[in-house]
């Protein structure tokens, strides 16, 4: 059990753990697995329809496209813990990591609003309660936390 979930006595914790190839076609399936567990734990409708799928899609997309650069020899490891208080999900790639603060741009400024890219990290941070970047052995991890609402 990962300490990040801070499990309370008597809590049921549902865990999703999966490795996927570095291919964006796998994203939707992972999102559905995690959403299913959030539904089981009675997360809010908006969280299930918006916050979780969009933020997780962004994290997976970054891991596959930027972290692993779609290298078929690399995988993305996903582990999610869901209980009645919160979702904690970690997405680990085999890339060199990044500075989450420096890479997050504000896409809402007049000079950025017509950009075609650059909204991913911004959305993750808007839609999740906490987004952290952690160095890992041979790769890096993005950990996102969302409290049940």
């Amino acid at each position: 059990m990962n300490a990040s979930l801070d499990q309370r006595p008597g809590d049921e914790v549902r865990v999703v753990e999966v490795d996927i190839p570095s291919d964006v076609q796998y994203i939707e399936r992972v999102v559905e697995l995690v959403r299913h567990e959030c539904r089981q734990m009675s997360f809010g409708t908006r969280q299930i329809m918006l916050n979780v799928p969009v933020a997780l899609t962004e994290a997976l997309s970054n891991a596959i496209l930027r972290g692993n650069r779609e290298d078929p020899g690399k995988t993305v490891h996903v582990i999610a813990w869901v209980d009645t208080h919160r979702l904690v999900v970690e997405v680990k790639d085999e890339g060199f990591g990044f500075d989450i603060d420096r890479c997050t741009i504000d896409p809402t400024t007049p000079e950025n609003v017509e950009r075609e890219d650059g909204r991913g990290l911004f959305l993750m941070r808007k839609l999740m309660d906490r987004v952290e970047h952690l160095e890992a052995d041979r790769g890096s991890i993005v950990r996102m936390t969302l409290h049940r609402g």
């Binding site: 918006l50 899609t57 997309s61 808007k126």
Partner: protein
């Protein structure tokens, strides 16, 4: 997830069924660009049957809007549910697009 395209009067209407995300955004882009190349100028994307949209999907909408404008045309959107509206508001893309509450209003707005 799939996209269906049909002509309603002078307007090309695209229905997005399922998600509009990194895995399928290029398919939508190509379908709309094919219609643009054929000379169509008015486009309405209807999100009535859409689940969620990620940043790549939003990026494709911005890209298409620019390309259509460059050809003297216009891209408008319709039927965003409350969650999708929130997404557009968070990114301020609600200021970039003309968004209609219904397909009919979208069609009549041209």
């Amino acid at each position: 997830m799939s996209f269906s395209i049909k002509k309603e009067g002078e307007v090309v209407v695209v229905d997005v069924e399922g998600q509009l995300i990194v895995g399928n955004r290029q398919e939508l882009k190509q379908k709309v660009l094919d219609e643009l190349e054929r000379g169509d100028k008015r486009f309405l994307i209807d999100f009535a049957q859409t689940g969620y949209i990620d940043s790549s999907g939003l990026g494709v909408l911005v890209s298409l809007s620019k390309k259509i404008r460059e050809q003297g045309g216009e891209l408008r959107l319709a039927n965003l549910n409350d969650d999708l509206k929130t997404l557009f508001e968070l990114t301020k893309l609600d200021t970039l697009f003309q968004i209609a509450d219904t397909r009919e209003r979208g069609l009549n707005s041209f």
